[in-house]
């Protein structure tokens, strides 16, 4: 049995099955908080803990899938390219909004972490929480955070954006469609964008444009801010 558990096939199969269960459940119930990644994560962690199979055994196969994070990030350029023409009319407001939103996210994490006395490692893990996972997890590793903590934080952030964005926009009287899209994409990456697409076409396009721009901006600025404090 050990020979099978320690073969790469085991981790790959477990990941695929758990992921499909996660997708099926979230499609069936359509609640934003039933995120396929979170469900699959809980299923696999639960399975490994109950069977006593080690994380190392799982990773023999899991690592094959993790390698694909790199090409998955590279192809994010395709949707960004498709949206880039939409920058033309309002490029100044759009860039100003994305930069302001990204800086707000970074500043919130640093200031509040210092106030409540979080450890530096946790603060660094939370820092890239508003950007898309393939970028955020590598930025986290680069600045000294714990990537799995970052991945969970990014997912919670995305779910929050998807659930609460319309209410926040109403409360803060953000009525402009472009502004709504930029706000959602900058704060809550691809997960929020799925909600933005439901709200409207302009909001969806602006939100998906923000994913790439906010990710790139944060990847450049976060290490600089860290070196300053």
């Amino acid at each position: 049995m050990n020979a099978i558990i320690n073969s790469p096939l085991f981790g790959i199969l477990l990941s695929l099955v758990a992921f499909e269960i996660g997708v099926t459940i979230s499609k069936k119930f359509k609640y934003s908080f039933l995120n396929p990644l979170l469900i699959a994560n809980i299923l696999i962690v639960g399975f490994l803990l109950t069977t006593g199979i080690s994380l190392e055994s799982y990773n023999v196969g899991g690592d094959y899938i993790s390698v694909m994070l790199s090409p998955a990030t590279v192809v994010l350029a395709v949707p960004l390219y498709r949206q880039i023409s939409k920058l033309k009319q309002f490029w100044k407001p759009i860039l100003a909004g994305i930069f302001a939103g990204s800086l707000t996210s970074l500043a919130c994490v640093i200031v509040v972490s210092k106030l409540v006395g979080l450890s530096d490692t946790l603060m660094l893990s939370l820092l890239p929480k508003s950007i898309t996972i393939p970028m955020g997890s590598v930025v986290s590793a680069q600045i000294g955070g714990i990537p799995p903590v970052t991945i969970i934080a990014i997912t919670i952030t995305g779910i929050t954006g998807a659930v609460a964005a319309p209410a926040v926009c109403r409360f803060c009287r953000i009525k402009n469609k472009v502004a709504q899209g930029i706000a959602i994409g900058t704060a809550s990456h691809a997960l929020g964008t799925t909600r933005a697409m439901e709200i409207g076409e302009v909001q969806g396009a602006m939100s998906s444009l923000s994913i790439g721009v906010a990710g790139l901006f944060t990847a450049i600025v976060a290490p600089i801010i860290i070196s300053l404090i």
Binding site: S15, I44, M68, S70, V74, A77, L80, I133, A179, S210
Partner: protein, 141 residues
């Protein structure tokens, strides 16, 4: 392009990104440099989006699958992190709301400024047209 060739192009860009990060020393993660490289190739029309659509839509449609295995390492984080989860959860939610508010308000403010300026310019233009029109009319009389 056939799928193996599409994959070769995407992986070549990944390797180029890693090269620029590790050997040349560009201070951005290799995969993010790779994304910028592909964006440049697309904008300069060297690669057309249709040429890599087989591979790109596969990755984009199932993006979450590729960060599932890295997320499982959450098992290995220490109790010091686990005990902080309620706080981390609260902070993530609160920060997201603030970020949406600031990002949206700033964008809206700048759009209104731009529209106000464009409106002023438009009105000035119309006014200039009307006065010149009146003048020419007046001249005929």
């Amino acid at each position: 392009m056939r799928i193996p060739l599409q994959l070769a192009v995407i992986f070549a860009i990944c390797v180029a990104g890693e090269f620029l990060h590790r050997i040349v020393g560009v201070p951005l993660p290799g995969n993010i440099i790779g994304m910028v490289l592909l964006l440049i190739l697309l904008c300069s029309k060297i690669i057309k989006p249709e040429q890599i659509s087989g591979v790109s839509s596969f990755f984009l449609n199932h993006l979450a699958l590729f960060f599932l295995p890295p997320s499982i390492a959450i098992m290995a984080v220490g109790d010091d992190v686990l005990s902080k989860w309620p706080l981390l959860l609260f902070l993530c939610i609160a920060f997201t709301l603030v970020t949406i508010a600031v990002g949206g308000r700033v964008t809206q403010l700048f759009i209104r400024k731009q529209e106000y300026r464009e409106n002023l310019a438009l009105r000035a233009e119309r006014l200039a047209k009307r006065t010149s029109h009146n003048e020419s009319n007046g001249g005929e009389k």
